[in-house]
């Protein structure tokens, strides 16, 4: 309905291949970015920023990571939490070993460490496929968490095993540690996530993304075309783990301000997997939608029954959450495997054709 595309023709390939070829979408995206960068920090309160928006952004980043591996390259991973933990602990080690190092660099480096670990656990993907591989990634999940819990080197020999993220600043603003304001943390996360999301989009719409999708859709045909399966899959593992690693570092440094392995247990892996199934496999937008959904649902379950006068116990809410997620997973896999992103696509199609049905 709001779309007025007539007259928006493309006279070169660059414009035709743009991420947002329709002007209205570009305007919409600009509006969303403006709102996210300017309006939200001005009006949102501390609670909203630090318990909803920041985790949402971090989840979205991790979901992008998993989506690259599972949604685009077709390699199911249940080890997301392990790779996030890698990033978190690597960031801690970097930050404490080199206090002068810029925090952005620390995060990127820890993403790199996670990527390297991801590659190691991706090697079996040469020989094994499908759920065999999924099981192999569980090995990563359990092994890594065990490693970070049991080896005191990772926690700098702290007696409790729980450690606080050291304060660090960017452009003179603290973004980690107790002195950091919610606004600064939020803007920092947002910037990092926005840039990385753009990079992910660039990757998936180019040569590399097509190689991933070829492997996903028909690995034999892909190989016959000349795609090297192992290299391609390992690259997916690396990039995916990089994103998860950075997300893990953000989680520990910015969201919880403490580095602990338990935050990245198997349930975290499932949570991220649910995000991409509900949000949409093979969609960057879907990663955001899925993350938003999973962040908001518990809040919704907390608030609504109370508002209706039937407050639920915490345990019941947890069980309801389980049931709703489980049911939604099945529902989306049956009805719309491409998740909320696909629903949005369909809605957009409708809007573009409005008032015609087809």
């Amino acid at each position: 309905m709001l779309y007025r595309e007539s007259g928006q023709f493309k006279s070169d390939y660059a414009a035709d291949q743009a991420i947002f070829p329709i002007r209205q979408d570009r305007i919409g995206m600009a509006a969303i970015l403006f709102a996210a960068f300017v309006v939200v920090p001005l009006i949102a309160d501390h609670y909203f920023l630090s318990t909803i928006l920041i985790p949402f952004l971090i989840f979205a980043l991790a979901a992008i990571g998993l989506n690259i591996l599972t949604g685009y390259c077709g390699q199911l991973s249940l080890g997301t939490g392990g790779f996030m933990a890698c990033g978190a602990f690597a960031a801690y080690k970097f930050a404490t070993a080199f206090p002068e190092l810029n925090i952005v660099l620390v995060f990127l480096l820890s993403g790199g460490v996670a990527a390297a670990v991801g590659v190691v656990f991706g090697v079996p993907s040469l020989r094994i496929k499908g759920f065999y591989l999924a099981v192999a990634t569980l090995a990563a999940q359990f092994f890594l968490i065990w490693l970070f819990t049991k080896l005191p080197w990772f926690t700098n020999y702290s007696s409790s095993g729980v450690i606080s993220a050291p304060p660090r600043s960017v452009f003179g603003f603290y973004v980690t540690g107790i002195e950091a304001t919610a606004e600064a943390k939020y803007i920092f996360c947002l910037t990092l996530v926005a840039v990385l999301a753009l990079v992910a989009k660039n990757l998936v719409r180019g040569r590399i993304g097509r190689a991933w999708m070829a492997i996903r859709d028909m690995d034999i045909a892909a190989e016959i075309i000349g795609i090297r399966p192992l290299r391609t899959k390992l690259l997916a593992f690396a990039v995916s783990s990089f994103y998860c690693g950075v997300a893990g570092a953000l989680w520990a440094f910015i969201y919880t301000s403490s580095v602990e392995a338990l935050a990245f247990d198997i349930n975290r892996s499932f949570q991220i997997l649910f995000m991409i199934i509900i949000g949409g496999l093979g969609s960057i937008l879907g990663s955001f939608l899925g993350a938003a959904f999973i962040v908001l649902l518990p809040i919704f379950l907390n608030v609504v029954p109370t508002a209706l006068g039937v407050p639920l116990s915490t345990a019941t809410i947890a069980h309801f959450e389980y049931m709703i997620f489980g049911a939604l997973i099945v529902f989306f896999l049956i009805v719309e495997p491409h998740g909320l992103a696909r629903l949005w696509q369909l809605a957009k199609e409708k809007l573009r054709l409005w008032p015609f049905p087809h």
Partner: protein, 642 residues
């Protein structure tokens, strides 16, 4: 006549030069190819055309010779028009869907040596043509696909042609261009002609350019406009809109990817200036209705509601008539929810000016587009007048007239009602056909359009029929059968109508119902029927059609000249008129004379007092079998409106 404003540029090659200087970086042409709109600026286009002109010179195209252009709307073919004109040759665009025989006549008649063909399909046809028109010795193809196995020495690829032109230098070409004068022949367009062989209409640069200039001023077209070139290049309208006006005004012409993608391409480009014959507008409207039928209840309601609003206020708003603030608001809301989106999907969002011509357009169809806020207008014209005879000025649009005389056009109505025209656009002569030329012009230099019409109270010309078909009732009243029939056919329930009255005391008609529309109506009203014949004989259907006829009479009564030819009696035919039975031409025009003979019994009954008539007629079934069909038909009287 006032002197043209811009006499320094009296030919298209000179206009091209001017545009290349003035608008070097503006896009002159686009073509959808390889997934995107390939674009050429005026400067780039000039370079292409100059190379092409040199190539044509290299293969021997001389001043005064003709060159045939065969294919869909493609930039290279448009360039070839101008390239030929650079050399003083006369381009002859040929209907691309013509069969080889038709093409052979045109190419033979025009004594064409060189033809430029779009692709293999046209080359195949031209090779056949060359057997019948031996003068044709060079065939240039622009698309080399599938051409590798052709060994015919007449064939030459476009690239080879350009390469051959390298031998000619620029100053030589400049001199050739300078030799061109306004009075020279610029293009030859063959008119189909309902009878006999096509005639080649020679139009001079002055004809075409001055007409284009006038039309541009009249409709305030500018270099910012965009047009989609999708109608046959051999048709004068395309030549004027997509070539002449584009060169004069400097606007951009867009060529669709293929015939199959016109609608998609239309949507992408969103032209600001759009021409389509009534049939296309009707098809689009039908598509809109069909698609809306499939929509959900809310959308359907929105559509109906806001289309009703548009009907009330849209046209008044566009014509600048007073509209209440509430209606304006209501309409604005509709623009957001319905009109805007519909225009967008149809590709008409940016349409500033739309024209339709060629046939009468149904008032409902015409009003539909106008009520959406689209400035759709009608014009009246002919090949021989470089199109424009009458145009509708903004704000004075009626569905049943074709507007006032175009700038610099003088119109006279002859004794027999025929419209006579004198204008800068009137052609010089038919090619090699002096008899036809003299027959088409009055001694004082007016062109005989062959159409009958008259000016209404506001000075708008109303075309009613072909002049030769216009008759008179026994009391001398003007009777234009086609006008009456068209009025009836504008109702969706009426598929065909045949009007009688020449030499009789009153007008009577046969009506053919539209099975789909009337069938739907019957379903909605709970009327059961088993066959076309049964449905056609239902008294309720007679009521329905009677209502239509009365409405037609009211319309006719509004025009003093036509008030006397109101319909007094009608019957609904028991079978559909069919081209297989010879009742219609293959282009679905009624053959009035044949029908009058075949259904003589019914015609007699119409002019008697009987209220029933019997008919037995032979019919051809779809599988080719013949049979007889007997029927008793009712005849109804209709009151004349005051």
């Amino acid at each position: 006549m006032p002197p043209p404003a811009d006499r320094a540029h009296d030919t298209f090659p000179k206009l091209l030069r001017r545009n290349a200087n003035l608008r070097a970086m503006r896009v002159a042409m686009r073509e959808k190819e390889f997934g995107i709109w390939q674009s050429w600026t005026w400067a780039a286009m000039e370079a292409e055309i100059r190379n092409l002109a040199k190539g044509l010179a290299a293969i021997g195209l001389k001043r005064g010779q003709t060159i045939a252009l065969v294919g869909d709307n493609r930039p290279k073919l448009y360039w070839a028009i101008c390239a030929a004109q650079c050399l003083g040759a006369i381009p002859v665009p040929v209907y691309q869907d013509a069969v080889a025989d038709e093409m052979a006549f045109v190419i033979g008649h025009a004594e064409t040596h060189i033809a430029i063909a779009e692709d293999q399909e046209q080359v195949d046809k031209l090779l056949l043509v060359a057997q019948k028109a031996p003068a044709l010795t060079r065939i240039v193809f622009t698309d080399a696909r599938g051409m590798r196995n052709y060994a015919d020495p007449a064939l030459l690829g476009y690239e080879a042609l350009i390469a051959a032109g390298k031998a000619f230098d620029d100053s030589w070409l400049d001199a050739e261009i300078a030799k061109g004068k306004g009075g020279d022949a610029s293009v030859m367009l063959y008119t189909s002609g309902t009878t006999g062989q096509p005639k080649g209409v020679l139009l001079s640069f002055d004809n075409v350019i001055r007409t284009a200039e006038n039309a541009i001023t009249f409709d305030k077209l500018s270099e910012a406009d965009e047009i989609l070139a999708y109608l046959p290049m051999a048709w004068v309208g395309d030549h004027i809109f997509s070539y002449a006006e584009a060169y004069v005004a400097g606007f951009c012409v867009n060529c669709p990817e293929s015939g199959a993608t016109v609608m998609t391409d239309l949507k992408e480009i969103g032209p600001s200036f759009f021409f389509a014959p009534p049939r296309i507008f009707e098809n689009i409207l039908t598509q809109v209705s069909i698609r809306m039928e499939d929509a959900g209840a809310i959308k359907r309601w929105l559509y109906r509601h806001f289309m009703a609003v548009a009907k009330r206020t849209g046209i008044a708003l566009m014509d600048g008539k007073p509209v209440s603030a509430f209606d304006r608001l209501h309409y604005a809301l509709g623009e957001i929810l319905v009109y805007g989106p519909i225009k967008n999907v149809l590709g008409l969002s940016r349409m500033r000016l739309g024209y339709t011509a060629g046939e009468a357009i149904g008032p409902d169809i015409f009003d539909f587009y106008r009520s959406l806020g689209l400035n759709l207008k009608q014009l009246y014209g002919a090949t021989e007048t470089s199109v424009f005879i009458c145009m509708q000025p903004d704000g004075q649009i009626k569905s049943d007239t074709v507007g006032i005389a175009a700038p610099e056009v003088e119109i006279k109505i002859a004794e027999n009602g025929e419209v006579l025209v004198k204008s800068p656009g009137v052609f010089a002569a038919y090619y090699k056909n002096p008899d036809a030329t003299s027959g088409a012009k009055t001694p004082d230099g007016y062109y005989r359009t062959g159409d009958a019409g008259f000016f209404d109270r506001d000075g708008h010309l109303k075309i009613i029929d072909r002049a030769k078909d216009v008759g008179r009732l026994s009391d001398g009243t003007l009777f234009a059968p086609k006008y009456v029939e068209n009025k009836l056919k504008f109702f969706s329930y009426v598929k065909e109508a045949v009007a009688f009255g020449d030499g009789r005391d009153r007008v009577a008609v046969f009506v053919n119902i539209d099975l789909e529309a009337v069938g739907n109506w019957a379903e909605r009203n709970g009327i059961a029927y088993a066959s076309y014949q049964e449905l056609a004989a239902k008294p309720e259907v007679y009521e329905l059609i009677g209502g239509c006829v009365e409405q037609v009479n009211r319309d006719l009564a509004a025009d003093p000249q036509l008030a006397g030819s109101q319909i007094r009696r009608f019957l609904v035919l028991h079978k559909e008129l069919d081209a297989d039975d010879g009742e219609l031409t293959r282009t679905r025009k009624v053959r009035r004379g044949f029908i009058a003979e075949r259904y003589a019994a019914l015609v007699d009954a119409l002019y008697s007092d009987a209220d029933r008539a019997h008919i037995s007629a032979s019919i051809t079934y779809e599988d080719g079998r013949k049979g007889r069909l007997d029927a008793d038909l009712m005849i109804r009287d209709v009151k004349a409106a005051a």
